[in-house]
C-alpha cells in the first residue's frame, strides 16, 4: 500500500521579471518556481545545495512532464505544492503543482531529479543522510 506523502508548500509572488508581453507568467519561469520549492523542501531537511556543490554533488533535472493549465498574472500570490513521488538510490521524483489563492491549479509537473558527480557529470548515489531524512519526512 502506498503511504500518504507529506505536501510541502512554498509561496511565490509574481513580479514583472516573471511575466511576458502576453500579460502572464512566461512558461519557463514556472520551472524556476518549482525549483525554488524543491530547494526549500531540501533545506527543511537540512540539505544545503551550496554545501553539496562544494563537494561536487549536484541535483540535476533529468525529466519533466508539465501541464500549463492557466496563466498567472503580475502580483499573484501563488503556492507551490511539492511531494516526493519516488525515491531511488540516485534519483528522486517530485510531484509539483502551482496553485493560485482560490485553489486553482495553474501548472503541474512530474520532475525527475538525478544526483550527480559535478566533475564527472555521472550519476552518483545520494548521500545516505539525505535519503534517511527524505524517508523520515514521509512519515
Amino acid at each position: 500500500m502506498q503511504e500518504q506523502t507529506e505536501i510541502f508548500e512554498w509561496p511565490v509572488t509574481v513580479y514583472y521579471e516573471d511575466t511576458d508581453a502576453g500579460g502572464v507568467v512566461y512558461h519557463s519561469n514556472y520551472l524556476k518556481f518549482f525549483e525554488r520549492a524543491r530547494t526549500e523542501l531540501l533545506r527543511t531537511i537540512g540539505v544545503s545545495q551550496q554545501t553539496l556543490l562544494e563537494q561536487n554533488i549536484g541535483f540535476v533535472v533529468r525529466h519533466m512532464d508539465i501541464d500549463f493549465l492557466q496563466g498567472a498574472r503580475l502580483d499573484d500570490h501563488l503556492v507551490v505544492k511539492t511531494s516526493i513521488a519516488e525515491l531511488k538510490k540516485a534519483s528522486l521524483t517530485f510531484c509539483q503543482e502551482i496553485v493560485n489563492p482560490v485553489g486553482q491549479i495553474l501548472c503541474k509537473a512530474m520532475v525527475k531529479v538525478a544526483c550527480i558527480d559535478n566533475k564527472k557529470m555521472r550519476p552518483k548515489a545520494m548521500p545516505q543522510s539525505i535519503v534517511m531524512e527524505l524517508t523520515q519526512s514521509d512519515r
Copy 2:
C-alpha cells in the same frame, strides 16, 4: 503513411546568462532556446508574433515532455532542431531537439502549443493562413 517532415534548424550560442553555478545551462533556459526556434520557424512562414499579439492572438505552451540528457556549457554553439509532429485546428505539437556540434542530443522535448484569444484566455482556431503555410511547408 506518415510523410517525412521538414526539420527547421536554428543556432543558439550559450552565454553566461544561460548558465548556473553547476557550470552548465540552467534547465529552464533550454525552454527559451526551444521557444526561439519555434518563433523563427513561424517567422520563416511569415508569422509575426507581435502582429498576432496586436490582434489578441497568442500561442501558449500547454504541455511539455522534456528529457534533459546532457548539460551544455558556456560558449557552446548549439542547434535547435524543430519539426511539426501534429497540426490541429487550435493547437500544434512540435518535436524539438538541442544538439551540440558533434551531434549529441543534449535535450529533447515534445511541445504542445495552443492558439488562444489573449483577452478571453480561450482556445481559438489558428488563422487559416498559418494552417495553410504549415501544411505546405510539410511537403
Copy 3:
C-alpha cells in the same frame, strides 16, 4: 536639513536560477532583486502594479547607476535595503543596497523610475494617492 528617510528591507534568497557558471549571481539578476524590493515597498503603501497596469499606468526604470562590489552565492540569504532619495511629479529615485548576512554591501544602485502612460509610452504625473503615501511614509 535633509530628513532621515525610512529604509525598507526585503529578504531575497539566491537560487540556482540566479547564479552563473562563475559560481556567483549573474550581474543582471541583482536588478531583479532591486525591482522585487521596490514592488514590495510600493505594496506596503497600498500600490498594486497589476491594478496600475490595468489603468495603463506603469513605472519604468529610466536610469540606473550600479556598483557590483562582491558576488553573492547559491543559498545566500540577502537583504535589499531601499529608501526613496527623490520624489518628483512624474518620477521617483530609489537608493538601494543588497547586503549579506554579515552586513557587507554586495551591490548598490541609484534607480530612477518614471511614471508613464503605458499606451502612449509618455511620462505621466504619478497618481496623487501614491505621492501622498510616499510623502507620509517618509516621516
Copy 4:
C-alpha cells in the same frame, strides 16, 4: 588626441522571454544583450570565456551607468553597438548602445568590467595576449 575606436555591432532579436507584462523588454534583459555583445567582441579577437573560466579567470561587471530611453518590443531586430572606452591593466570600460532598425537609441550604458581570479575573487592583470589584441583592434 583621442584615436577613433572601432565599433563592434551585434544583432539581437527580441523574443517572448525578453518581454514583460508592460509589453516591452524587461529592463534587466538589456544587460544580457550588452553582455552577449561584449562576449562576441572578445570572441572576434580570439578570447573564449569558457577557456578563461577553466583557467579561473573571469571578467566581472564592476560598474554600470545605464540610460533606458525607449522600450523595445517583441520581434524587434536590434543592434548592440560596442566600443572600448578605456583599457587598463586589470579592467576594461565598454561604451554600449542598443539601437532599433530606424537608428533610435533605446538603451545606452558605460560598463566597467574587471578581470579577476575566480578562485580568490581578486583583481588580476588581464592576460597579455588579450591586451595586445584589444590594442591592435583599436587601430
